[in-house]
Amino acid sequence: MTNIGSLKNHQYAHIVDLAAYLPEQTLSNEELAALYPEWPAEKILAKTGIRSRHVAAPGQTASDMACEAARALFAQGTVRPEDIDFIILCSQAPDHFLPTSACILQDRLGIRRSAGALDINLGCSGFVYGLSLARGLIETGVAQRVLLLTADTYSRLIHPMDKSVRTLFGDAAVATLVAAGEADSERIGPFVFGTDGSGAKNLIVEAGAFRQPCTAQTAVETTDASGNVRTSEHLYMNGAEVFSFTLKEVPLAVNNLLDKAGLIRDEIDFFVLHQANRFMLDALRKKLAIASEKMPICIENVGNTVSSTIPLTLIQMRKEGKIVSGTRLMLVGFGVGYSWAAAVINF
């Protein structure tokens, strides 16, 4: 990919640093098993690969968590708030319909007013998309240091008696710094993207925006055939459909990206997939024919944290010494929308 000329020669966007925030309160399988009679704790672990997940405190929003993650990033010393000139918040649980939560974060974090700020509405594909936006802004010279925040409180969107999703999702936020650095070629990219709105109804919060505003009707609880309780203001997921979509599209995306990048599987050090649940990841690993050492799992103590699963996994890998200069990764985010994206990352 040729340098398009806005940066000095040999300058490309890259991931500089990451910091996570996990809310204090946790929800264990034991606590969930107490609510769901036919689902003992061991069964939940076996089915999902998750032992416990973090849950935002009452009144703590996704952008509150994003704020903590950003502060943790600044505390790591690689960047100061005053150096940031663009904020992207990826969340499906914003503080308000308007104003934009990223604008509020500009003020809370003491970032300059001449910084751009916007929210994007994506879930599991959000981190990879976010990297593509950040790269675009940096390599065209529109911004120099992008603060990419992923944060979600799916726990709030889930009905307490909907075990189909309550066992899976956890809350978290990660702050990622993307900036320009010396390199011979691109460090973030190439990318492949995927979108299929025919799958919207399979992972959805139906009521609460403008297609279906909240009414007395939308607050009515219904119980499905499996005994899960929810209203149309809560998250609904058709697990089977989502699983089927994933098995079809993710391998295609991975192969397309390898082709596009002119690489073979062996030239990728690690495949970091969206940590949806253990069962799905195992199925994908087999279908993709990837050795288990090359596909890290980071879900046992955090659950599916939506757009934060990939960066949380990167942080864990970094701690384990798996990511060093020159490590080449493929990141693959996929899910709600349906939306999916994959990228090659050269550290």
Partner: protein
């Protein structure tokens, strides 16, 4: 640093058929209505029927534009939707639109939450995305159904807002003029334009009580799920922040005020825009406006105004676009439009 090589091939804007005239708004006395129109410049707006959403207006606009440009649907590689009034909290509206428009699955799609500053931000984000990834063709959809946010009994909000949805076709083209951006944010002003209560995971999840309308003051009654405006704060912010932003952009582009063919500001109200015009020092004849018949159309006021100005822009021209408001967020950019850029404005009742 300017964005180079990205061309606007066309902008199509769809508005709902229903007309709401200030003259018919009896919450205000006749004298108050006259004063309102004189001060804001608004005489009527287009508002949706209760079942028409932003996405419906944007889909209409996109279909019109694709047809006019004769773009093969399979050639669209990115779709970005900027709105604060999407279809569902989850998933993103752009993805649903991908499906309804019949765009390929390889098309990237995401939503951005911004309001009045949307258009310059949208060009910056989508333009830079296209350039770095070599994606030749993109659709930038911008729209809002703000009328559905307002309480009819709130005289400080109801008569201001109109609804619309626009589609802009962007294409990589080395002959395109450079676009300079000035992007800004100030969250300390978050309460100037806000919807206090929201969905389950929001700062203030709505409860059944929230739907009861409360009288805030004479002529202003609303519930916490309605839009709240602090007119004085918005005015104060706009007149102090926007002129410097426009000047910085002119300076970066090395354009003098006299070299600009048209200034297209966010259409909030006439008083603000006249004040900005005097401060920057441009001629009234170069200020394009759609306040009179379309009101404040939030995120889409800039593309709507461009769509409405096909005559003036037939030969192309140098334009300054400046959006400012909710967030607080504000942004200015300069664009050189080519002759015969498609500019359509039409009405639709379609629901998809």
């Amino acid at each position: 640093m300017p964005l180079t090589g990205v061309e606007i091939r066309g902008i199509s804007t769809a508005v709902p058929k229903r007309v709401a005239r200030v003259a018919d708004y009896t919450v205000l006395s006749e004298q108050e209505r006259e004063k309102f129109s004189a001060g804001t410049g608004i005489e009527e707006r287009r508002i949706v029927e209760s079942n028409q959403c932003t996405s419906d207006l944007c889909i209409s606009a996109a279909q019109d534009l694709l047809e006019e440009l004769q773009w093969d649907k399979d050639s669209v590689q990115v779709l970005v939707m900027i709105t604060q009034t999407g279809d569902h909290p989850v998933p993103a509206t752009s993805i649903i639109i991908q499906h309804k428009l019949g765009l390929p699955k390889t098309c990237a799609a995401f939503d951005i939450n911004l309001g009045c500053s949307s258009y310059p931000y949208g060009l910056a984000v989508l333009g830079s995305f296209m350039r770095t990834l070599g994606l030749k063709r993109a659709l930038l959809l911008v729209g809002d159904v703000s009328s559905r946010l307002c309480s009819y009994n709130d005289k400080s909000a109801w008569p201001l807002f109109g609804d619309a949805g626009s589609a802009t076709a962007l294409e990589l083209d080395d002959s395109a003029g450079a676009i300079h951006f000035d992007l800004n944010s100030d969250g300390s002003g978050k309460d100037a334009i806000i919807i206090a209560s929201g969905g389950l995971a929001s700062k203030n999840p709505a409860t059944p009580d929230n739907f009861a309308e409360m009288e805030v003051s004479s002529g202003i009654a609303r519930n916490s799920s309605n839009l709240q405006l602090k007119g004085a704060d918005i005015f104060s912010f706009a007149i102090s922040a926007v002129p410097p932003s426009i000047k910085r952009c002119l300076s970066a582009a090395d354009w003098s005020v006299g070299e600009v063919d048209y200034f297209v500001l966010h259409q909030a109200n006439k008083m603000i825009n006249d004040f900005i015009r005097k401060k920057v020092g441009y001629d009234a004849a170069t200020a394009l406006s759609t306040l009179k018949h379309y009101g404040n159309t939030s995120s889409v006021s800039i593309p709507l105004t461009l769509s409405a100005s096909a005559e003036q822009l037939r030969q192309g021209g140098r334009v300054i676009l400046s959006g400012f408001g909710v967030g607080l967020s504000w942004a200015t950019c300069n664009v050189t439009l080519k002759p015969d850029t498609v500019l359509h404005l039409f009405e639709t009742e379609n629901v998809y």
